[in-house]
């Protein structure tokens, strides 16, 4: 390809990227593709030169030749950089962000099998002052019929997808164990008849686990997430029974039994961070070393700023520092080919390795829907039985496709304008709709209150990724799609 006059005088400027260095190497994380390149030689010079502003191609080439690079190599490098969109010139047309038009087969439903709970955690989004679900007057427990009709909807709406997933959720899910049990058996049978594999997971506070339940979970390979906030002191600050008594002492022996007897699927702890419970390292140590979890994930409680347990900016900074320390530990383990249980790190690293570039922040409304006790379909488990994000009803013909399409049109990354110049958008894509609703008043708003944190965390993970990629690249094969 020869370069025409027009191209010579076109200004060249840097494309969208985030640069970082790790293990003595410079990297570019390119946006929006999500690709990661190590930069060497002339490419590094080009980026330095253009760092202070755009230059014409002519001037850029002349400068690089003056610095001692061969013209041919300069041309090669400029072509490479342009091809991967690290360099841009006005001749290139920007592709518009378009909302895809295809149908969206379902892959997962979350069944809120009950809206009751034997705990009364202050921060719970189902009961707190920020709650959006209107469960008053609704059935307290999901019936077998609604659960089975939901499974039918999943199978019917899954199109060609071979692997389906049912998540059991609450309230406290185990308060309605009988429906969970019958639904697992039903879904397995119906899945087999339709040539689909159905897998299951359960989110529970763990206090109602019995030997019988644990054996059932193990037999059906049900993945389990236990909500737990750390040692007795930290856990019992928010996670209390209705009489105010802490849940730790009841919970721990049951969880230990679960970890011992259930070995057919992963069991993780899910920690909710709040103003009073934010000592990430202490919690991680306790849950892995004392309780025995292999995997621990953390998330700040969704809360509007006026709540006492809301985590303010400073606390979030401290959490980021602690996350980076744990991520560094993850890296050290990875360099020795050992698995580390900090799932926030492994999840993000996996997304970075794939080079994910999200059109939507999460699967809510897309491949996943939530179903409430009476069969109301919500965007996800957090929107079940709320007028916001309602997507139809099991009793009234299933998914309301018009509402769902409208939702997807207005929540696409293309419609979250605040995110269009953000380098973290391939991974973040604007963040959780529920979080946005509570903090920004609108599901389609970008979660601007978390941006610095998100970018900070992505930067931490990119550096860890770079170090592993240089020093022990084989480890990254563990992130291969399964």
């Amino acid at each position: 390809m020869s370069v025409g006059m027009e191209t010579q005088t076109q200004p060249y400027r840097l494309g969208e990227y985030h640069s970082f260095s790790a293990a003595g190497t410079e990297f570019l994380y390119l946006v929006p593709s999500g690709s990661i390149f190590a930069v060497e030689g002339i490419a590094k010079l080009v980026i330095e030169l253009l760092g202070s502003g755009e230059m014409s191609r002519e001037a850029l080439v002349a400068k690089l030749v003056e610095l001692g690079c061969s013209r041919e190599e300069v041309e090669n490098t400029l072509q490479e950089l342009t091809e991967v969109d690290a360099l841009q010139c006005d001749l290139q047309e920007k592709e518009p962000l378009a909302v895809p038009v295809q149908e969206f087969p379902l892959q997962r439903i979350v069944l809120n099998t009950t809206n009751q709970c034997n705990l009364a955690c202050t921060y719970c989004y189902e009961y707190s002052e920020d709650k959006i679900a209107q469960s008053a007057g609704k059935e307290k427990f999901m019936s077998k019929e609604i659960a089975e009709a939901s499974v039918e909807m999943l199978i019917r709406e899954s199109a060609h997808r071979p692997n389906l997933h049912v998540t059991f959720f609450g309230g406290e899910t185990l308060l309605n164990f009988s429906v969970m049990r019958s639904t697992v058996e039903y879904a397995k049978r119906r899945g087999a008849e339709q040539g689909k594999k159905v897998e299951f997971s359960l989110t529970t506070n763990g206090t109602l686990l019995t030997e019988e339940i644990v054996d059932f979970l193990s037999e059906h390979r049900i993945g389990v997430t236990v909500s737990m906030d750390g040692d007795k002191e930290l856990n019992d600050r928010q996670r209390v029974f209705h009489d105010g008594k802490g849940s730790y002492d009841v919970l721990v022996p049951k969880v230990k039994q679960l970890l011992k007897r259930h070995r057919t699927n992963s069991i993780g702890a899910r920690v909710t961070l709040t103003a009073g419970v934010s000592d990430v390292r202490r919690i991680y140590r306790h849950l892995t070393e004392e309780v025995g979890f292999q995997a621990v994930g953390f998330a700040p409680a969704t809360a509007s700023p006026q709540r006492l347990y809301h985590i303010g900016g400073q606390k979030m900074d401290s959490i980021l520092d602690q996350f980076s320390e744990l991520a560094a530990e993850y890296r050290d383990y990875a360099l020795q080919n050992r698995q580390h249980g900090f799932t926030n790190a492994s999840d993000t690293l996996k997304e970075l390795h794939t080079g994910i570039s999200k059109a939507y922040a999460c699967g809510a409304g897309l491949g996943m829907l939530g179903v409430g006790t009476e069969g109301n379909i919500g965007l996800c488990h957090r929107f079940v039985d709320s007028p916001i994000g309602k997507m139809g009803s099991i009793k009234e013909g299933g998914i309301n496709k018009t509402v769902r399409r409208e939702f997807l049109n207005t929540h696409h990354i293309g419609a979250r304008y605040d995110c269009h110049t953000c380098w973290a958008r391939p991974v973040c894509a604007g963040g959780c709709y529920h979080e946005a609703y509570i903090n920004q008043g609108n599901t389609s708003a970008a979660n601007l209150h978390h941006c610095d944190w998100i970018r900070g965390w992505n930067d931490v993970c990119l550096k860890v990724y770079g170090e592993i990629a240089i020093q022990n690249p084989e480890f990254l094969n563990r992130f291969a799609e399964n």
Partner: protein, 122 residues
Amino acid sequence: MRKDNIEMASLRAINRKAKQVEEIAKAERGDLLALQNGPSANAPGKVYHPMGCTLNFTPGWEVDISGGTAGLCQPVERDLFDCYLGCGWPGHVPDHLTNAPNWTDKCASAVNDWRNVDIVFP
């Protein structure tokens, strides 16, 4: 002129997406050439796309979303047959007028039996 056969020189693909981006860039790099003679025809790294019917202009050589061909308007099975009867463009199929009149004898229905068409050696 860019040497089209060299690897990326100062950028090194690290994650999976970067490798895909690089693959695409490499594939797009070569000029599109018709089957042609002349000095550039043997240049290394050039991609030779026959400029004719199927390959570029009908979906016959592609697959549908499930990896099959049946859902396409011009599935490869039919494409093969259509070329033979109606087109006979030399690169793809034997021509039934002069060289391979019995080529499709064992193939009663192209959609079902296309695997049975004979192999023809030029």
